[in-house]
Amino acid sequence: MSEPILSLRGVNKSFGPVHVLHDIDFTVRAGEVTALVGDNGAGKSTLVKCIAGIHPVDSGEILFDGKPVHIHGPRDAAALGIEVVYQDLALADNLDVVQNMFLGRERLSGFLLDEAEMELAARRTLASLSVRTVKSVRTPVSSLSGGQRQTVAIAKAVLWDSKVVLLDEPTAALGVAQTRQVLDLVRRLAEQGLGVVLISHNMNDVLEVSDRIATLYLGRMAAELPTRELNHSQVVELITAGRSGDLGLARPDVVTI
């Protein structure tokens, strides 16, 4: 088993009186896909936003590469090598693939854009991910399919020597073949040694692509187990009830919510 690259210890987060995250322990390992599942309102998005620096945590520790770090904003997270691919993609339709991948971090030669350098780097990254679905890196994003857009958004996150990539429902809006493309890409990210966090509602995707499954239930980490030790119905029970047989949270009479 590889070393944890990112781990959270006892993280708490409240919005006013609402206690959203209770003592969360969560580990992301390099070279593995960790699925983060849970019902609506379980705290998945909040947890991702805490890692991405959008929400500061109230208490608890975040370790990156074994060292405690403080993430105060998206830029801190990006500086550590944590990239988030949001559900709504965050691509500009009127720009082409290269322009989108380098948006906000354009490479310059003098005070002009270094188009050649950016185009080559974009193609190297896409090639390293075995992405062969884009006709030309100068294609405007508006003419790409949903799967291709998601691919570009993920490749954008990889471009920056990132170590951890968080994917928020990357296949939610995709068809069958396009979902296939994106899941293959998720696997390749892990094979390249990145720590990948996959948030998804689709159990088939999760069981197929992930190495470990972390289940959130009402703001608590119900279980964080290797995927091969779980089956479909156990994951569903963990999501809906917080426990499944011996797995998960203790009986509800002990739990205080």
Binding site: Y86, L95, Q99, A116, E119, G146, Q178
Partner: protein, 496 residues
């Protein structure tokens, strides 16, 4: 077109997986060349044959990405119609005159393009340019004594306002706005005697200051740009009326420099130097970039197409320069009028600088990104308020340059300077050229082409002896036609 690439749901049986490269994908590619949609075949191409490139272009046109085609077609049709209907239209004298008449609105249109790229609008650009023109004219008439020319309250109001504009620009760290506004304050307070170049500079600096105001209200206070600039449109009109009076005019004809900007031409030698610099520069930039892209193995146009473009521009430039260097005086025996009008290099410089900034700098890229998807740009670390504010500064400053040109053409400034149709013609020119009012799509080129179309309509109809009423009706219909072409093409693009 059977499949929608943007349709997220639904299985796509013909879609090959990434492993599906090789002969299958190549066959698909050959098949897909006939289709406008970019289907999921797995080859990253960098070069196309000329035939493929022309085919792709044709497919994009059919797919609704019309680019400059409607404006160019419209221009051609108009020229043919007017040439048949009026003997005077196709004369070198009228060609030069058309350029000089059209330059003012065209320049204002170029300035408004970055604002439209963000999906915003600046309704006040016209009257703001009028304010700049008014200060230019007053400074000239009263030999730099603006305190006397403007009256106490107006003068101190302007000084305080410009200092405030500088502070607002400093808040967003837009140093060009700070320098411009304080420069205008300095010219106001120093009262340096009249000098045509100083007056032109004053007009531009006042434009910068006005833009700081507009931009801050839109970008930081968060008022919709339509409302902000509607208010300022009315306010600046009031300022002009106060300074000049409804019936007053201030002449600048006595200054040769100010008058010649839009009424005189380069010498014949100067015209050919301009041709060599402009066309040589174009050929060098396009040719060298193409060579570099080929060398590095990047996505590039086919070489024959690039050469054809360069040859086309050089030949057109040479013919235009040659025509304009002929003597176009109505009485060739008495006077000699020849050479490329000064407005041509002015428009060219703005066009080149604008295109360069939008296409080749980080700032320009961020303008397109904010216009295309503000949220994506913000998440990518783009300073969205700063970009928003800056485009209004550009718009007002360039509108002030337009004001210099139209003031020079008429030779005076009156109480209606920049009022009425000025701004709407500028927006219309950009739209006719193909700039979208929804943001993200447009180029400086659009303003130039659209400006030429509008200038041609007005000039041609005037030569045919039409009065103001039909001229306005027809101009409006031309604009509507352009907007319809744009809307239909967009619907076609969306239906893919």
């Amino acid at each position: 077109m059977t499949e929608s690439p943007t349709q997220p749901a639904g299985p796509k049986p013909t879609e090959p997986t990434p492993a599906d490269s090789g002969p299958v994908a190549e066959a698909l590619e050959a098949h897909a060349a006939a289709d406008t949609a970019i289907t999921d075949f797995g080859i990253d191409t960098t070069s196309r044959t000329t035939y493929e490139a022309i085919g792709d272009y044709w497919n994009r046109l059919r797919g609704g990405e019309l680019g400059a085609v409607p404006a160019l077609l419209g221009l051609t049709v108009l020229v043919v119609i007017f040439a048949i209907a009026s003997g005077d239209f196709v004369s070198i004298n009228n060609l030069a005159n058309l350029l000089q008449q059209g330059a003012g609105p065209m320049i204002i249109a170029m300035g408004i393009v970055p604002v439209l790229l963000l999906g915003e609008i600046d309704l006040s650009a016209g009257t703001a340019s009028g304010v700049a023109a008014t200060l230019l004219a007053l400074h000239f008439r009263d030999h730099g004594n603006l305190l006397g020319a403007m009256g106490d309250s107006m003068f101190y109001g302007f000084v305080v306002g410009l200092v405030l504009a500088a502070l607002l620009a400093a808040l967003l760290r837009l140093w060009i706005g700070v320098v411009g506004s304080l420069g205008a304050v300095a010219v106001l307070l120093l009262g340096v005697p009249a000098n045509p170049y100083l007056e032109m500079l004053l007009a531009i600096l006042v434009g910068v200051g006005i833009g700081c105001f507009t931009g801050f209200l839109v970008a930081k206070v968060g008022i919709p740009s339509f409302v902000v600039t509607l208010g300022l449109f009315i306010a600046w009109y009031g300022v002009i009326l106060q300074l000049i009076g409804a019936a007053g005019t201030v002449s600048v004809r006595q200054s040769d420099v100010l008058f010649n900007v839009a009424n005189d031409s380069l010498s014949v030698v100067g015209s050919w130097i301009l041709f060599v610099v402009a066309c040589g520069g174009y050929a060098a930039v396009v040719g060298l970039r193409h060579a570099a892209r080929l060398r590095k193995g990047l996505v590039a146009q086919p070489t024959p197409l690039v050469l054809a473009k360069i040859v086309g521009v050089v030949v057109l430039g040479a013919v235009a320069t040659w025509l304009l260097t002929l003597n176009r005086s109505p009485n060739p025996a008495l006077t000699d009028i020849s050479g490329v009008p000064y407005v041509v290099p002015i428009v060219l410089v703005l066009f080149v600088v604008g295109t360069f900034v939008l296409d080749r700098t980080r700032y320009g890229r961020h303008i397109y990104a904010v216009g295309g998807n503000t949220e994506a740009a913000r998440r990518a670390g783009v300073n969205v308020p700063k970009i928003r504010m800056s485009v209004f500064i550009i718009c007002s400053a360039v509108a002030a340059i337009g004001a210099i040109v139209y003031t020079s053409k008429v030779g005076s400034v009156d109480g209606n300077a920049g009022n009425g149709n000025t701004l709407l013609f500028a927006v219309g020119a950009a739209v006719i050229g193909g700039t979208s009012l929804f943001g993200g799509k447009g180029r400086v080129r659009d303003a130039v082409l659209g400006g030429l179309v509008l200038a041609t309509v007005q000039n041609g109809l005037n030569l045919l002896g039409f009065q103001a009423a039909p001229v306005n009706i027809i101009t409006g219909l031309v604009l509507l036609l352009a907007a319809s072409v744009d809307a239909l093409s967009r619907r076609r693009a969306a239906a893919r």
